[in-house]
């Protein structure tokens, strides 16, 4: 089977650019075939594949042609390729609302008011609010809300050997070594101190 040399379409970029400027869209396969004087749209497929790799065209989800980055300088509709590039466009990043950032897992988050000073050395003061996540499993070093004698207390969750201990961030409070099953209400994810 001898390999037939394909006739390379001449001035592909220029022709496509001209078509785009005239019609405000890219050609269909059939139109592209006509444009480059091929008899069947099948023949153009090979070149479309080539153009895709060189960035002259792109294909959308349904396979239709879109102008590729290498087809510039043409003005792309609905895009900001013309003029100065927008710095916002360059910095392609999603934003997180303060709410999402502080709260994390929305459904599992609850708020509590701090009244005591057992965590002052960790920077948590009376009058602060803490957000807790009920869905998390506490890890060593986390600040947790634990249920001790039917009251909730906020402490560092730590391990001594393989025992769990609850340590306050204030020397005046003793470290609690729970003897029965320890109930953890949640892990502290944020501390909020609102001034105004």
């Amino acid at each position: 089977m001898g390999r037939k040399k394909r006739q390379k379409p001449r001035n592909a970029s220029t022709e496509l650019r001209r078509f785009y400027t005239e019609h405000q869209r890219m050609p269909s396969y059939r139109e592209a075939a006509t444009l480059f004087r091929y008899r069947s749209p099948n023949a153009i497929t090979y070149w479309v594949n080539r153009w895709t790799t060189t960035g002259i065209v792109r294909r959308d989800r349904t396979g239709r042609l879109l102008p590729g980055p290498a087809l510039a300088p043409i003005r792309l509709l609905g895009n900001v390729q013309a003029g100065f590039p927008s710095p916002a466009e360059e910095e392609h990043i999603d934003t997180l609302s303060l709410d999402d950032w502080l709260v994390g897992n929305r459904e599992a988050s609850f708020m509590l008011k701090v009244s005591g000073d057992s965590m002052v050395d960790a920077g948590i003061q009376p009058g602060d609010y803490v957000l807790i996540d009920r869905g998390r499993t506490p890890k060593k070093g986390d600040i947790v809300i634990a249920e001790v004698d039917n009251e909730w207390t906020m402490k560092f969750f730590e391990k001594r050997g393989n025992r769990i201990v609850l340590r306050a961030a204030n020397r005046r409070y003793p470290t609690i070594v729970p003897h029965q099953e320890l109930k953890i209400a949640g892990v502290v994810t944020s501390v909020i101190r609102k001034y105004k």
């Binding site: 509590l112 701090v114 005591g116 803490v130 009251e151 609102k194 001034y195 105004k196």
Partner: protein, 436 residues
């Protein structure tokens, strides 16, 4: 191994039902309430929800609170905190939506979801998905829920009631029978006492007996909604999961209990007007107008007298309802009686098209009312409900709804966080205890 897409699960519908929901929320917010009998509804004077610990004393919804105190002196009785309950409710639905978008919020503490086809993508069987939903809700919200998973909505609902609290009942096609056999016909969702009595006359005692009737007989003897029930009980899913928010109503009812009880006609009338104003607000929000209304008074000993009246023109403006409402009130009210609540139900609701003016109505008046209420609604949006209200309801708006211990506000209404206003609160549940 799990069998996916077997004939056992032509569809997989889940129903999740909060266990003693309001009481459970209170226990989640107050760790010190856990394991104790908790009752909500202090402001109403009757039980709204009873925790399972309270149910053990035979306390159920609707029991007067003095009886609760007799039967279970250690019961913790709290005023309803609807703000927090509604946050828990929204979270429960949100957790269900992590698994599927086809969630129907049926009521504040109940929801359906369609899991059909999710076994493969989620890599577990339907029962495991159900168990995981239940576990996540319990872990993250701190409340317990009961779950039914079956091939239709009616069966799923039956399942969630079957084992409570914290139950899970799975009803694949071939295990349906035994559950239906154990369910009396009046426990089927959608069968009221009248239909149950009718069934009993036909010799139908259990859900299974109903399901086993021939389709010809069911079609002949029962109305359409009951035929649908029959199909659903037989595993044929005909009721769809309604994911859209409800905006059409058959009727809009508003009632409010007050304390102490009263026989003062001016006070009672003011209470009734306030309910009418509330019902109209809701109707206007959904662009509906009513052509009839029912007015009722509830006596101290829980008897209700109700009368229905027809409006000269369909409306959602209190002024239009006033004349008929006044007349109905005069007919219902008995001077020597002590009342505990008033109520109104707007019925025969239709879309507000503003064309059916009565023949003798000067349209100028209608136009004025329209303008007035456009302003009233705008003011309400900005400054709070009832910023502008009828003079006749003033007494009801000014006086606290309840006296003595019933006047106690739910915790969340007793304080404001920095930056919160009375009308705008943070959308996160605040646990009741402070940390030491």
């Amino acid at each position: 191994m799990t069998n996916w897409n077997t004939p056992q699960w032509p569809r997989a519908i889940i129903h999740i039902d909060g266990d003693a929901f309001f009481a459970s929320c209170e226990q989640a917010l107050h760790p010190e309430y856990r394991g104790k009998p908790v009752i909500t509804g202090k402001e109403r004077g009757i039980v709204a929800a009873a925790s399972y610990e309270a149910k053990a004393f035979g306390i159920t919804r609707g029991v007067p609170l003095w009886e609760v105190k007799n039967r279970c002196p250690e019961a913790i009785i709290v005023p309803s905190d609807y703000e927090s309950y509604s946050l828990f409710s929204k979270r429960m639905f949100a957790i269900m939506r992590r698994f599927t978008s086809a969630v129907e919020e049926y009521s504040i503490d109940e929801a359906f979801a369609d899991l059909t086809g999710l076994a493969r993508p989620l890599g577990m069987g339907y029962v495991e998905i159900a168990r995981m939903m239940q576990k996540t809700i319990t872990q993250e919200l701190g409340i317990s829920v009961s779950v039914g998973i079956a091939t239709t909505k009616v069966l799923a609902k039956l399942g969630s009631k079957y084992r409570k609290p914290n139950g899970l009942t799975a009803m694949p096609n071939d295990e349906r029978r035994e559950y239906l056999e154990a369910t009396p016909v009046e426990k089927i969702w959608g069968i009221g006492p009248k239909t149950a009595a009718y069934c009993s006359k036909l010799g139908i005692k259990t859900a299974l007996a109903f399901a086993n009737q021939s389709s010809a007989l069911v079609a002949q003897r029962f109305i359409k909604p009951h035929v649908a029930l029959w199909q659903e009980l037989n595993g044929q899913s005909v009721l769809t999961i309604e994911t859209e928010e409800k905006t059409t109503y058959q009727s809009i009812g508003k009632t409010k209990t007050f304390s102490p009880v009263s026989s003062d006609p001016i006070f009672l009338h003011a209470q009734l007007l306030k309910n009418i104003e509330n019902a109209c607000i809701k109707a206007r929000r959904h662009r509906l107008v009513a052509s009839r209304l029912i007015v009722y008074l509830k006596t101290q000993d829980f008897r209700t007298r109700a009368i229905e009246g027809v409006l000269s023109r369909a409306s959602a403006y209190p002024q239009d309802l006033l004349r008929v409402a006044d007349q109905l009130f005069r007919e219902t009210y008995e001077p020597q009686t002590m009342y505990r609540a008033t109520g109104v139900v707007l019925t025969h609701l239709g879309p507000d098209t503003r064309v059916q003016t009565s023949l003798f109505e000067p349209p100028i008046r209608l136009e004025k009312l329209e303008q007035v209420y456009a302003a009233v609604d705008l003011l309400a949006e900005k400054f709070g409900k009832h910023t502008v209200h009828l003079l006749g309801s003033n007494v009801a708006h000014r006086a606290p709804q309840h006296a003595r211990e019933r006047a106690e506000l739910p915790l969340r209404k007793q304080y404001r966080l920095k930056g919160e206003s009375t009308r705008k609160h943070l959308s996160i549940p605040v646990l009741a205890q402070t940390l030491r």
